[in-house]
Amino acid sequence: MLSGFELDLPDTLVGVLDLIADGRGTPAVPLAGGTSLIVDMRARRTMPNAVVWLGKIPELRGIQVTQDHVRLGPCTTVSDILNSDELAGSGVSLVRAAEAFGGQMVRNAATVAGNIACNSPASDLVPPLMALDAEVILESRSGSRTVALDRYFTGYKEDVRRTDELITGISWKRQEESSVDLFHKLARRKGDAITVVGVAVNMAVSDGTCMRARIALGAVAPTVLRAKRAESMLEGETLTPGLIEAAARQATEEASPIDDVRASATYRRHGIQVLTARLLTQAWGRLT
């Protein structure tokens, strides 16, 4: 059963920022799709006194693709991502993650900002976004700032967002033609299952040389993280099966998985190795 709380339904962004900035008592919590927050509230893991629903502000939802950038409104749902023709051409790894995300009803409700804000290391959308070098736009009454997603998470269930800030956008640079972004996850079943290992890879190649390599890992550390030492082994290099294996092995070193109900740390480490090598091989194969 949900605990008692006040529900606010502002119809402007300013209204939202005013409500979450209100210092009385515990902070008001923004509610987007509710697929994480409401579950936590029912289980009494979190019991906010006030909840601010974002659903009355249509401009918070939508996908904007300009010549250089892709920007997602915070309330863009996973289904929106899945059904977007634009993203199929400039962020296909995110579409792959959306396919593997929850069940149909959850995809219809869950939002991209919610998936970031709930701070789950097993997030499905964060690894591809992180591999795309996405940035998070945070707004409050005192202004706005932009934080690289890579620096957004500071620890298990911890991030840089202040309680008076709202995620108002997620954006990344459109990928050049000679690049590929990929995502794959392992779980106990094909859909509607929490990730055991999620790996996103983004690679750009020019003249037979890897110009950019991004490897983001989900569900294998307190936060989603980039395997930066593995990435740097690849950049500026011509990839070979041996180098790919070594980089994948390096990625496993950068993770710190745990044993839990879904899988053992050992299996997770193995999963990073297999998926990273597989995705790097695929990306390299497509670009050369």
Binding site: D260, S264, H270
Partner: protein, 798 residues
Amino acid sequence: MRELRSIGKSAWRKDGIAKVTGAEQYASDVLLPRMWHARVVHSPYAHARIISIDTTAAEAMGAVCLTYDDVPKVRYNERIVSTPPHLYRDRQVLADKARHVGEAVAAVAAPTERAAELAARAIEIEYEVLETIVDPEAAMRPDAEPIHSSVLLGGTELPIDNNVAVNRTIEVGDIESGFARADHIFEREFHTSRIYHAQMETKSVVCRPEADGGITVWPTTQSIHNVRQLLGEIFSIPLHKVNVKRVAIGGTFGSSIQMNSVIPICTALALKARRPVRLVSTREEDIYDHTRYETRIRLKLGVTDDGKLVAGQMEALADIGAHNIQAFALLSVLAGWWVSLYELPAMRFHGTAVYTNKAPSCAMQGFGNPQATFATETLMDEIAEKLELDAIEFKLENYVGLGGTFWGQGPSVQSIVQSDGVPELLRVGSDKIGWQNRPDPGSQTGRYRRGIGMARGFHTSGAGAPKPGEVIDYSGALVKINEDGTVDVVHAMMDHGGGTLDAIAKIVAEELGVPVNCVGISPADTLTTVYDVVTHATRGVYAGGGAALKAARKAKAILLDYAARVLGIEVDALVIEPDEDLCQGVIHCPSVPERSITVGALAKLCQTNSWGSIAAVESLRQVNAPPAYVSYFIEVSVDTETGHIETRRVVVGADCGTVVNPAMAVGQLEGGLSKGTGYALVEDAQWDPETGQLASRGYWVDAKIPSISESPRLENIETYFADTYEPTGPYGAKGVGEAATNPCAAAYANALHNALGIRFRQLPITPELVLAKLRAQAGETLLGGQTAGPASAGSRGT
């Protein structure tokens, strides 16, 4: 035999429209004037003495509270299918001591669900926490904390030593000389998992106290009559004042064979509050209420050089959780299923059922049969491989078939097999899957490896037998012909969703010679129906349908007597045939075509002439429990990099005698595959050894069952039925439901062996387990320097 009109043709479910439109009424849909809502307070501890319960604050909020002090001090067993001498009674309406996480220790009723929840939280309980026992082996250690000091067996106090609820040894023939005759002896250990039924509807109930001191109850149950008898006994209410109503049930898989724990709690609250009370379990509460029996099975089989089984021994350890619901019966059936798979001239079974501080185990689709069949069929496949015999020929040489003695539900439930489609099932199935072209085990290399596996099995149709035994089994039905020629069937049986009541309607329609659309299934309650034991043991069509057929025959005889009088034709010369256009049965004599009358016209004449009603009530004890045979052929593909298993193709065949409703029977097979796949590959209920909590903590998010994505595409699931006729069944029918799932896990294990050359003797076969075995096979370890074992049940999330 004349042509069948209703039986053998696919028909829509009579309740289909109500179910898809939401009009159907389940227990939680029963809303009554003045009704309050209940919530139960559950123990957060797996094993704890209750020191005190303070309800002051909850009562100050206006709630009616119920504690151990308020409930009748009657020890009961919630499943009264076993005969009284075999009933182990160890529980009361509310617990005096918490024996598992989620055990009900107090309850409240209040005007709204919210008020009830708040009141439930306001109850303060002081516990003395005791040692938590999660492992059944540890439970039997002499120094282990006793979970029950004694229980009632029949009416006698039975001390419980070393947490052993019951032992059972069954021997036939001389086991020593049996194994001495064997040229080869194989002995292996198997471990099956403790999974949740995952039925759609959570256990719910509404109870209304009546002005005359009686009660009316709308429960989630598989047996309205057993609920009635237990409530009458616990609350000392004469049975004519206990009315239990049948409402639709949202699936069970066996989870409501017993009277669910919420039913007497709700009844006690309603009696104390003197108003109707509704109690609906949440999913998390339901997951902590019941599970499948976890077993460790040591199986030994002796076989001659030419492939003849000569002796067998099974030792089984069953983890029954915190209460003994049917441990004695479980040990009986484990032995029964095992010895009914293959002829064993000498056999010995020893079973031990042990209490642990986990949710109580109860029957789940197959009741011990998936466990026994997994062990037996996996070992039979291995023996065939080692002796270089074709597994199908080896099984056909040894199986219990036509003329064999079939134990069905245990040593007291023996009958002779009179219909047997096994040879047809295996030959057709092996042709369809391409058995002869399957790869040699372990011969493949590369990332993806393909394998084909086969397993066979069965379930009984009911628990009937020639003599009274340890289990009650009979049904009753009232068939009455209405004044317009339509028919009411009044039958206490539950339909879990498999179409049992539709099958009964077809059987009655067939017998009376009326269109099936003219036959209605009446609402049922315990005041107006005769006894039916319970819908379980795949007995619905065979036993429940058998009783309806018996009543229909008697009603038909009355009908034809009147018809003979009206038409002036000898009764033996009359037939009734359905006329779909008239929507009537027509009574006539083929050689005197000018004389005929519709059933409706005759029934109306009976009424207007005041001749009386055309109706009959009958009770039927089936004296057989014929096997419904099933065979599975499964093709899998394994990704050896991740350990993931893809089900590529499944061929499932069933011998259920006459197929009453083909579309529904196919649905049973497909459902059995889905549940079997979950058992084999996906479902994994881990319990924290420290806290006795489920690692999933009762949430679906980590208690996964297969979704549609795990199923092969429909065009890759092929079902077929053997052409058989069961002489003791209604129109030749047997059961199908539980048989449909029993061999599934073994077929997967055998397919994986065919693909990888590795035997799996533990369920579920997860990607992690596959990978660990592959690495062990290659002499490697996974990254991190250790071989992956089952994941530990840590409480940290990721």
